[in-house]
């Protein structure tokens, strides 16, 4: 481009203009993600805030009864929040050992051949649609749990936790495996040179070195579990009451939105309340993602990788 300074012909001017134009087009389109993210926040705020004219924020969050269609309606989402938390924690109990264990197996034990087969399979399993998991939970796991625990219904928080956990496992495994891959081989070799066994190397060198990367995997797995909709909608049972045990039906936030939005009259209090739940859900996952981002950045810096 600098050469064109000598004699600027109209063609060159045209060319320069075209170059600038393309750069601007790409720059503007690159902001699409930011635009949509901000758009989502604005829409949630605009449609969600009106509910706080009816119910105070504190009452909305800590209210213990969710009767949006009664007269007078009650909008307390504590049961929904707790249901989400319970189901997510339950899922973590399933997906963290399985996901991390599988990742360690893939990274440290599996031979190159095994790895070449297992890694794509795990990734493929991560693509199974959530509605298929929900369907499986409904037709197979539900009768099974009902029989074992002698329950009136098998659609419970436990069911949702198991299905969500299995569902999040491939995700956790893939991310954790990436983190383990980043641990330089020199770490392992140094440890072996000191006479450590493979197990000692794994537990005392590799896992601590990959620790923050593994935490990122757990946080992203939790974020996926708490935002997951179809499975909990289908298998959690849907009772909007304060959860007491894992063997009762619950209604997590996502399930409440998905189940009730169809019937909520547009522009009514119920409609606004559901958007407010979505806003809270968005904030929770946003915080999870930011925390994961910060931890993974530190991890990369710690291991001397470019941010």
């Amino acid at each position: 481009m600098d050469l064109s300074c000598r004699a600027i012909t109209p063609i060159m001017k045209m060319l320069r203009f075209k170059e600038k134009l393309y750069k601007w087009i790409f720059t503007i389109l690159a902001f699409a993600s930011l635009f949509f993210l901000v758009g989502i926040v604005l829409v949630l705020i605009k449609e969600g805030l009106p509910i706080f004219g009816k119910v105070s924020f504190i009452k909305f969050i800590f209210g213990r009864s969710w009767y949006p269609t009664y007269n007078p309606a009650e909008f307390g989402i504590l049961p929904l929040i707790l249901a989400s938390v319970w189901v997510t924690l339950g899922a973590v109990v399933v997906c963290v050992p399985l996901g991390i264990g599988s990742a360690l197996y893939l990274n440290e034990l599996a031979g190159p051949c095994q790895k070449a087969i297992l890694k794509p399979i795990i990734e493929l399993l991560a693509s199974i649609p959530s509605v298929v998991f929900g369907f499986f939970g409904m037709v197979i796991l539900t009768p099974f749990l009902q029989k074992i625990f002698h329950l009136p219904t098998g659609l419970t928080a436990l069911n949702a936790s198991i299905i969500l956990g299995i569902m999040a496992t491939p995700t956790v495994c893939s991310i954790a495996e990436d983190a383990l891959n980043y641990v330089p081989n020199a770490f392992r070799e140094a440890s072996f040179a000191m006479g450590a066994t493979r197990w000692q190397t794994l537990t005392q060198v590799v896992i601590p070195a990959a620790g923050s990367g593994i935490s990122t995997a757990i946080i992203l797995g939790m974020s996926r579990a708490i935002g997951e909709t179809m499975t909990v909608l289908m298998v959690a049972g849907g009772a909007a009451v304060m959860p007491h045990t894992f063997l009762e039906p619950v209604r997590p936030m996502t399930a409440a939105i998905a189940a009730e939005m169809g019937e909520a009259p547009m522009g009514g209090s119920h409609y606004h309340a559901l958007f407010a739940i979505a806003l809270i859900l968005f904030v929770i996952t946003f915080v999870f993602n930011i925390v994961a981002e910060i931890i993974s950045r530190r991890f990369r810096i710690k291991l001397g990788l470019s941010g």
Binding site: K23, F36, G101, S102, L109, S127, V139, W199, T229, F286
Partner: protein, 282 residues
Amino acid sequence: MKKDLSQNLGFFSLFICMAVTLLALGSIIYFIAVRGFGVLNWNFLTQVPRSAMTAGGIAPVIVGTLYITFGAIIVALPLGLACAIYLCEYSPKSIVVNIIRISINNLAGVPSVVFGLFGLAVFVKFFGFGVSILSGSFTLGILALPMIISSAQEALTAVPQSIREASLSLGATKWETIKNIVLPTALPGILTGVILSIGRVAGETAPILFTAAAFYTRGYPKSIFSEVMALPYHIYALMTEGAHPDKQRAIAYGCSLVLLLLVLFISGFAIFLRQRQRSLNG
């Protein structure tokens, strides 16, 4: 000796984790395959539903899924590609790039039902598209955007810097280099990402709940403004709505198997392609 024991126990437990993971996920595929296979036949795939969803086929449901999936890709591909080109080819290393990167990551983490609400408020209500293929495509398109961006970015980064420099040194401008050299070289990788996104989008349910899906429409969708039946939503609806749960369940097995095969085939193909490209790139 004690060291060996703990090592063996430890390694064995890792093996168990891997085995349980594969077994759990494998059994889901197995159950649905075995029970859905009996329902699956040519008529099931090519006919319209009859007798209040208890008989007939699911052809319009499959067609509906294809419509909204491709609609979503048409929305997401130009935007995602442009974003990736900016990030890989034009971006000055600056705070702007960081902001874009963080917003992509966060958009990828937004719960799918929240996309559904966004689509409901913006496309269905504000733009007045109603519950339609158009609204569903836009909603799913936004959901697919981060996936398209990151795979396109990977493909663009894999293009060797030297061929860009070669093109520039021959007097080509930046845009000419991108258009004639970088994009054609990165095309296979970009397409792989697109196929992968198709697999993911085809199975999404929550975003189309309020924006595109209907449990029953008469025959095939007529225009982009009509409601559609879509496989993932159909499975959910068959299990929770309708008057004949027992008869519907058989069809739900069939739908699940079709969706599972569709998604696993598309994703498997994309993962295979990417694996090959990565090994070719070294």
